[in-house]
Symmetry: C2
Subunit: 428 residues, 2 copies
């Protein structure tokens, strides 16, 4: 991880470009190795992580001390902290990724055409992926492992709070690669907190960076969206809605809303706004509100909802636009499915949207017409997760409209090419 510190005579821009060239060279080599070699590399990375436990904990201790000095919140400190158990859980996640099916070279489709050509659509790596993320040190290993599983080289940019931990983890991962005979530069981490490094990545490192994946808060994502000159697979806001239809089963509605909102409030699949069909609201809303309040959730309602539950605070226009990521739920009474879908079209972020109903016709209309990466019928929005989808691991949930939507796993970090086999055909 020393390409920058070893070359003090290089400017940051030069060293970033060099990093890009090394990544490209590594990515080209990754394209010529087998799935088994990638699997061996991943397991070696996991072993190396466990072997480097004390180095990683030392580095994490330095990050934690600096974070305490800066007065970071307890929640932030908890996210940043590593211990032996967390390190072995990071290594376990890498081993899980090693067991995932390798997508590279898989034939997605194959057909013949009248000219006699045999055409196959075959998965290939994207190339070089830049991942820009914030505090959690485990992202370093997760992202690097997913990139390797899919045959991609990774250029990682950690947040300054977790930089020492990330460097120690990346050093371990690289030594694992080296031990397995794979190119170390398949995983590189920017080893300076200088924010200008992000600017160079967003500019694309002179064509060496193929895709950027931002993982972090709104500020980071907004900057990436605004400045990237490279395609972005965006993990943006998750302003998730649940619509309780007139044909909902009340007890299901109560448990689904409680789970969707409160299981974990800080994740992107957490429920933020509840839309309740007027016909059920009078009886159902109090039944939903009681366990939420017991669990410490604040409710903010529109006028109609506050007629039913006057103790709710009043929801403003701003509430409909806010991803709380906290124990707060906004509540609106709607007349029907169409009004619910209009609200979602207006305020949704294309992440995860839920309908609760026993009427399958209504459910199918919602599932077909609501435009989001994930649309759910009678299941908690907290299932919005690559692991829960059987994809093994994810680098995030994409809310954009191209390349991939929903959980982005190894398969979604590939593209395809057409392999055409002929017998000398010329085109008339």
């Amino acid at each position: 991880m020393s390409q920058i510190t070893e070359s003090n005579d290089l400017t940051l821009e030069d060293s970033m470009l060099e990093m890009g060239q090394r990544a490209r060279a590594a990515s080209t080599r990754l394209g010529t190795i087998t799935a088994e070699q990638r699997t061996t590399g991943l397991n070696a990375m996991a072993d190396a992580l466990e072997a480097a436990e004390s180095l990683i904990l030392d580095a994490n201790g330095r990050d934690m001390a600096a974070a305490r000095d800066k007065g970071l919140s307890d929640a932030m400190l908890d996210r940043l902290a590593l211990d032996p158990e967390r390190i072995s859980s990071i290594a376990r996640a890498v081993r899980d990724i090693a067991r995932l099916p390798d997508p590279v070279g898989a034939e997605i489709a194959r057909w013949s055409v009248p000219s006699g050509l045999d055409i196959a659509r075959v998965r290939t790596p994207l190339g070089v992926i830049g991942i820009i993320y914030e505090a959690r040190p485990n992202v370093t290993a997760d992202a690097a492992a997913l990139c390797l599983r899919s045959g991609n080289a990774a250029i990682l940019r950690a947040g300054s709070e977790s930089l020492q931990s990330a460097l120690a983890i990346a050093t371990a991962l690289r030594s694992g690669l080296k031990g397995a005979g794979l190119p170390m530069d398949a995983i590189q981490l920017v080893d300076t907190p200088d924010r200008a490094a992000v600017g160079h990545m967003l500019a694309g490192l002179q064509g060496q960076l193929d895709v950027i994946v931002p993982r972090g808060g709104k500020g980071l994502v907004a900057r990436v969206q605004a400045d990237a000159r490279v395609p972005v697979i965006g993990h943006l806001e998750g302003l998730c809605h649940a619509y309780i239809d007139s044909d909902a089963a009340p007890e299901k509605a109560v448990s689904l809303v409680l789970n969707a909102k409160m299981r974990r409030t800080g994740i992107c699949g957490a429920l933020e706004t509840l839309l309740v069909n007027r016909s059920l609201a009078q009886t159902l809303l109090p039944a939903i509100a009681a366990p939420l309040r017991d669990a410490g959730c604040e409710l903010r309602g529109d006028e109609a909802a506050r007629v039913i539950l006057p103790e709710m605070t009043s929801a403003s226009e701003e509430d409909w636009r806010t991803e709380y990521l906290a124990p707060v739920l906004s509540v609106r009474i709607v007349e029907n499915l169409d009004e619910a879908m209009q609200h979602i079209a207006m305020y949704g972020t294309g992440h995860t949207e839920l309908i609760i109903t026993e009427n399958s016709t209504t459910a199918e209309r919602f599932l077909a017409q609501v435009d989001a990466g994930i649309v759910l019928h009678n299941a908690s929005t907290q299932f919005a997760d690559g692991g829960e989808f059987g994809m093994g691991a994810e680098i995030g949930i994409a809310t954009g409209r191209i390349h991939a939507r929903g959980p982005v796993g190894a398969e979604q970090l590939t593209i395809f090419k057409y392999v055409v086999r002929g017998t000398g055909q010329t085109r008339p």
Copy 2:
């Protein structure tokens, strides 16, 4: 097509934003109609094109007169010119697209997970697609029809040379949509030659534009690449190579190279650089050169090639980087497959690359390792075409690395969402 001319009080920016909002509204409606309705719309568009023949020919006459005044080349004038036969061929292409399978709502995959959730990955439209193109008037109909087949709204920006023709065609298409009861604003064409309109499109029309597809020369594509704030499905350069391996069948090599270079020299799949294995060059190169020269092709060779054919002009570094789109071929002698693949990695544009060999092991190495949208074995590069691939029609050949590579047809103008059906599951 009058949203701008009718509202002289609006600035260009305002009217472009309004166009974006109308497109979004149309795109939302397109998401709720059936495949049959889209098919009906497409056939109505084709009928309307034929009914508007004289209006379209009048408009084309104005474009042609202006183009002659500007001194456009004969090739440009030929591309621009319409006649009754060309108009019916444009209508026929729209009817062909009407017969294509409708991709929207198709289930790509479906599986269950241990929690009992039923998960389906289902194709959905991209949303609103901006297409920025140059002279050929037929692109207006082709692009609009492919967008409608895939459930997308289109905002079209024609080149100024073909603007009158494009407006007449777009007006016909919109009247076809209207007659079929579909939203006219699913197809809109920017009705001003003001180049600032392109800038507004590249900025994304405040989130109303989901993807931009540029179709045109290097200058246009470079501008789109540099300035787009929206994902681009890029139709860039096609600097295509053929590598003649030591195990090539000579007669196949002669006919494939002649066809790949000379069938049509102006298309992106035309061959530009020939790489010949040294072991065959002495005998094969003269056999390849003779019919090429008879067909009017200039050859430019490296030093080794010029030893064999001294009448060739000398190829410079610039030649290896040039997409001639003309009857010119650069020729280089290489030692082996690896040197050929290195040349392609260095100078290729990720479009279409060909190996000519009877050795299937060598062929498979080339097909696996060469990084391009299309890799071919023993078939002309001129097959790089959605129609030849059985995809019906294409909006271009993508040379980028995300979302789609190779021919971009109706299916490639879609994305997917996850439809999750549960029975009340909460996440533990």
